[in-house]
């Protein structure tokens, strides 16, 4: 409603193309009493939010608290909302992404929003390609600028590379580069670090600090509280769509923030102590795992990876982006064509040849994939459909899927994982990011796996839910599952894992037992270049395979 307002917007936007001069403490963005309702859900009720020039304003809240919704309103994604938004003291009506762009508001969405089949440079300049005097697209300028922007966020990718070939972390940084290419007043980042490892996070913070110094107001959403200590100036807390309060970061403790967020103090984040019984039998033993890299698919190569996980054990995989952590899990899960994978895999003592995901699931292996939107969820379908998809065989009765059994099992998962959803038939696309992640977990757990491969299992999950998921992992391990988890969050790995295997450029460079490793030691091992440089120069010739990911 109200799209007729648009003609008036350029007036407000006049002069907005250049960022306003930094005025210390000047409020550039004020959102007052914002309300938003979805069918059956009141997502926001009277939320206030202010951002000053040069400030990094964090928003904190549990999954489904309404953080993304609030920022989507600012970015013009939802056109019908209640309340007033003022930019530089002038009330503005933002009813389309285009309008937001005009006003100098850019948003990096929680879910990646790049066009997979287009190149990085085309994605960066999508919709505002620079033109030459003759009116054609100025490719040279685009490439130059793209290279510069990519370097700013610390990527060395070729700008003409299709986005499809980039890993999630790389795509996150490309999104940042894309936002930088526009002239900015307010930059919104919705969980930009959820897929980034430490080194990449550092780089991002440098970029953020520079922007802030230029007077850009930055809204920063994250579930990683330790980041807020470092980067945020103020924190606004939401709970169940309501405004709870705003605090200056200086002088506020983490515990205080958590209790504002969840409404009660949280006792313990990491429930895991040293495994009480000691590890059991070997569930999986991987030796000499080689994987042919594939540039077109953006797949890192693996060279002789060795990995063992025993029943009751949680094994962590650490490493930088492109180190081959996800590839290791996916190779075991049978995602890649058989000719690309070599090595010796033993599952519960028996030789195992990864063939296909289906084969893996039958053998009690489950994968929580890295990119929930692209790899895990059928977004337009319901919670029930998605959660039961991998385990339909369990609900069969007389040749048909028994709706009653299925519903009971999924409802059980929804309760156990505290998935916040209006109902089992709600489309997954309508859930908040963290709750979508929980649906992915539910899907894997319903297959009753004995080996669980988890790629960033707590990506985008709030502290309370994280504690629940850690609890769940501990419980699964206690009941005899083996868990291999990839995580970019070192504290998480250090606290949860019995062993941590560090990968660097497709090779295992270190292995730490519980209590032995430290963040520094792991990072050192993850960046251990000497170990691989000599061989790496020769490796491209070893990995020329250009194969699509196998289908079965």
């Amino acid at each position: 409603m109200g799209r007729e307002i648009h003609e008036t917007q350029p007036d407000n936007a006049s002069g907005s193309s250049a960022p306003a001069a930094p005025g210390p403490g000047r409020v550039i963005l004020a959102m007052n009493a914002i309300t938003k309702t979805f069918p059956g859900v009141r997502a926001l009720s009277g939320v206030d939010m202010t951002v000053r020039a040069g400030e990094v304003a964090a928003i904190l809240g549990e999954n489904g608290a309404g953080k993304s919704t609030l920022m989507n309103i600012l970015a013009g994604v939802f056109s019908d909302y209640g309340g007033v938004i003022e930019l530089d003291g002038v009330p503005v009506a933002i009813h389309s992404p285009k309008a937001a762009q005009h006003l100098g508001i850019a948003m990096i969405h929680q879910e990646l929003n790049l066009v997979p089949d287009m190149s990085i440079v085309d994605n960066i300049f999508l919709g505002r390609e620079p033109r030459t005097a003759r009116g054609t697209i100025d490719r040279r300028r685009m490439d130059e600028q793209a290279t510069r922007l990519l370097a700013e966020v610390g990527l060395t990718l070729h700008p003409r590379r299709p986005v499809r070939q980039c890993r999630v972390a790389e795509q996150q940084l490309i999104e940042v580069a894309k936002a930088l290419s526009a002239s900015l007043r307010v930059l919104v980042m919705d969980e930009p670090t959820s897929a980034l490892a430490d080194a990449e996070v550092r780089r991002l913070f440098t970029v953020i600090r520079r922007l802030a110094a230029q007077g850009v107001g930055i809204v920063y959403i994250s579930h990683r509280l330790e980041e807020l200590d470092e980067i945020a100036d103020s924190v606004t807390v939401l709970r169940d769509g309501a405004y709870i309060g705003r605090r200056e970061m200086a002088g506020t403790t983490r515990g205080e923030l958590i209790s504002m967020m969840v409404g009660r103090p949280l006792d313990e984040l990491f429930p895991r102590s040293d495994s009480p019984t000691g590890p059991g039998e070997e569930v999986i033993r991987v030796e000499g795992l080689d994987l042919a890299g594939d540039r077109r698919e953006g797949r890192a190569a693996l060279h002789g990876v060795r990995l063992i996980a025993r029943a009751g054990e949680i094994v962590g995989l650490a490493g930088l982006m492109g180190a081959g952590r996800s590839e290791t899990l996916e190779a075991i899960y049978g995602v890649f064509p058989r000719r690309a994978v070599h090595g010796n895999v033993r599952l519960r003592g028996r030789r195992y040849q990864p063939r296909s995901p289906r084969h893996a699931i039958r053998n009690g292996i489950a994968l929580v994939a890295e990119d929930r939107k692209a790899q895990s969820l059928v977004l337009t379908n319901s919670v029930r459909f998605n959660a039961s998809l991998a385990a339909l065989g369990r609900f069969m009765r007389r040749g048909t899927v028994s709706a009653a059994r299925e519903r009971a099992a999924v409802a059980g998962m929804v309760t156990d994982l505290r998935i916040k959803t209006p109902g089992l038939n709600t489309a997954v696309a309508n859930l908040s990011g963290g709750n979508q992640q929980k649906v992915v977990l539910a899907k894997c757990l319903l297959t009753e796996p004995s080996l669980i491969l988890m790629d960033e299992p707590t990506r985008g999950i709030d502290v309370g839910a994280k504690a629940e998921i850690y609890q769940l992992m501990t419980e699964l391990a206690r009941r005899g599952s083996a868990i291999v988890m990839v995580s970019s969050e070192l504290p998480e790995l250090l606290a949860m894992c019995d062993r941590i295997v560090v990968l660097c450029e497709g090779r295992v460079t270190a292995e730490f037992r519980r209590g032995e490793g430290s963040q520094e030691a792991i990072l050192d091992a993850a960046m251990d270049r000497q170990a691989v440089l000599g061989i790496d120069a020769a490796s491209p010739s070893r990995a020329p395979a250009r194969r699509e990911v196998s289908d079965e």
């Binding site: 409603m1 109200g2 007729e4 307002i5 008036t8 917007q9 407000n12 309300t35 938003k36 309702t37 059956g40 859900v41 009141r42 056109s79 909302y81 209640g82 309340g83 007033v84 002038v90 503005v92 009506a93 899960y333 995602v335 296909s356 995901p357 289906r358 893996a360 699931i361 692209a374 790899q375 895990s376 969820l377 059928v378 337009t380 379908n381 919670v383 459909f385 998809l389 991998a390 339909l392 065989g393 069969m396 040749g399 048909t400 899927v401 709706a403 519903r407 409802a411 929804v414 309760t415 998935i419 959803t421 209006p422 109902g423 089992l424 038939n425 899907k443 297959t447 289908d551 079965e552």
Partner: protein, 405 residues
């Protein structure tokens, strides 16, 4: 008015129901996707209303309705197969040709081999399934887009069809020395010749001793079977998953190759099943039979609310789409609207259907009407325009078979 507050959304909301308990509303919401979209039913009601208003009893009697549905049944069956393919985000352009070759095969088997229908129909289904398998294999294994594969298959099969028939139609009404139909030929008529029913003389509910017109029965059975397949079986779930997100489906253990091959094979199988119906209806197999039927099938699927992007749609929805096309055809015919005008109307209705199928159509309608009203009033002083909400205009039509009526 540069600043503006949008009115706050309605205040009180029903508390979201706990996922464990099932209210009536939740139950309803569970069934609704199977039934297709509300807009489809509105369209159907409008078409029926148009028929009743213009022709009254001439339109609304069992004889006429049976004829109308019977004339379209073979295309309705094609549309069911097409739905399966479209649900996986594919498309099958060859179903018309497959129906053509199946109808030709059925006629040739009848005329030259003197087989009975219990042999002919399964053989035709095998023929259809064979070409469907080829479609599926090329799509899933060679990774060629289904549009291209089936476009090629459309021509290949038509070519084979014409070679088999030497470009002449093959009549199915064989007369013996006494000037009567041969027994086999008489039996063949049951498959679709108007006026020949199955299950005559049995005290059936609804239809009584007059029996049922086989094409109508076949369509209903196919719809029921395939709707159950989609909503009750594991395979049905997998179809939706492949269309919704193929990668996610594969990582969830769905054999995506198998699913893709299977849907094309089923589409071919159904085309083979529909072939003899078409031959019996026309009393002959024409080398061009079934041409452009694939377009009617696709139109029915789209009008029924399925998304060409895959993952959304249902067989019942497709049935509604087919009925809209069928009855429209009939209404336009009864009102003596020219074939050419029928084509135009049919083209427009597909566009209209897609527009009104948008999930937020009804919500978007309110402001749109208001805005349009304001615009027309301020600009020209005209009374506020009516926005088509499933326009009551007669909509689509299909070129009627030469033999019909």
């Amino acid at each position: 008015m540069s600043s503006r507050t949008t009115p706050a959304s309605p205040g009180v909301l029903a508390p979201s129901e706990p996922p464990g308990r099932r209210s009536l509303r939740a139950r309803l919401r569970g069934v609704l996707p199977v039934l297709g979209s509300l807009q489809g039913y509105i369209g159907l009601v409008l078409v029926i209303a148009a028929g009743m208003l213009t022709k009254g009893q001439v339109f609304w009697n069992q004889q006429n309705l049976t004829n109308a549905v019977g004339a379209f049944a073979s295309r309705g069956i094609l549309a069911v197969g097409e739905t399966l393919v479209i649900l996986t985000a594919g498309i099958d352009l060859s179903v018309g040709s497959l129906l053509g070759i199946a109808s030709m095969v059925s006629a040739l088997l009848l005329v030259h081999q003197n087989l009975n229908i219990y042999e002919i129909v399964p053989l035709c289904m095998v023929v259809g399934a064979f070409f469907g398998l080829a479609n599926g294999a090329a799509t899933a294994l060679l990774r060629i887009q289904s549009f291209v594969v089936t476009l090629a298959m459309l021509n290949v099969v038509r070519g084979i069809d014409r070679m088999l028939s030497d470009n002449v139609s093959v009549g199915t009404q064989l007369i013996n020395a006494q000037g009567q139909l041969t027994p086999r030929s008489a039996q063949f008529q049951v498959l679709g010749t108007p006026g020949h029913n199955v299950f005559t003389g049995l005290p059936l509910p609804f239809v009584g001793r007059a029996g049922i017109y086989y094409p109508v029965l076949a369509l209903v059975v196919v719809v029921v079977v395939f709707q159950l397949l989609l909503s009750k079986s594991k395979f049905g779930r997998h179809i939706y998953a492949v269309g919704g997100n193929e990668t996610a489906a594969r990582l969830s253990g769905v054999n995506t190759t198998y699913v893709k091959i299977a849907v094309f094979m089923l589409a071919g199988l159904l085309a083979g099943f529909a072939g003899p119906i078409d031959a019996a209806y026309s009393a002959s197999a024409d080398p061009l039979a079934g041409s452009s039927y694939e377009l009617d099938a696709i139109a029915a699927v789209v009008i029924g609310g399925a998304s060409l992007a895959g993952g959304r749609g249902s067989i019942v929805g497709t049935l509604v789409g087919s009925l809209i096309l069928t009855l429209l055809d009939n209404v336009l015919g009864l009102n003596a609207i020219s074939d050419n005008a029928q084509l135009i109307i049919k083209g427009l209705i597909v566009i209209l259907a897609v527009v009104i199928q948008r999930p937020d159509f009804f919500r978007a309608l309110g402001p749109a009407v208001r805005r349009l009203g304001r615009l027309t009033r301020t600009r020209t002083g005209d009374p506020p325009g009516e926005v088509a909400s499933g326009s009551p205009q007669p909509q689509s039509a299909t070129p009627p078979l030469e033999e019909s009526r």
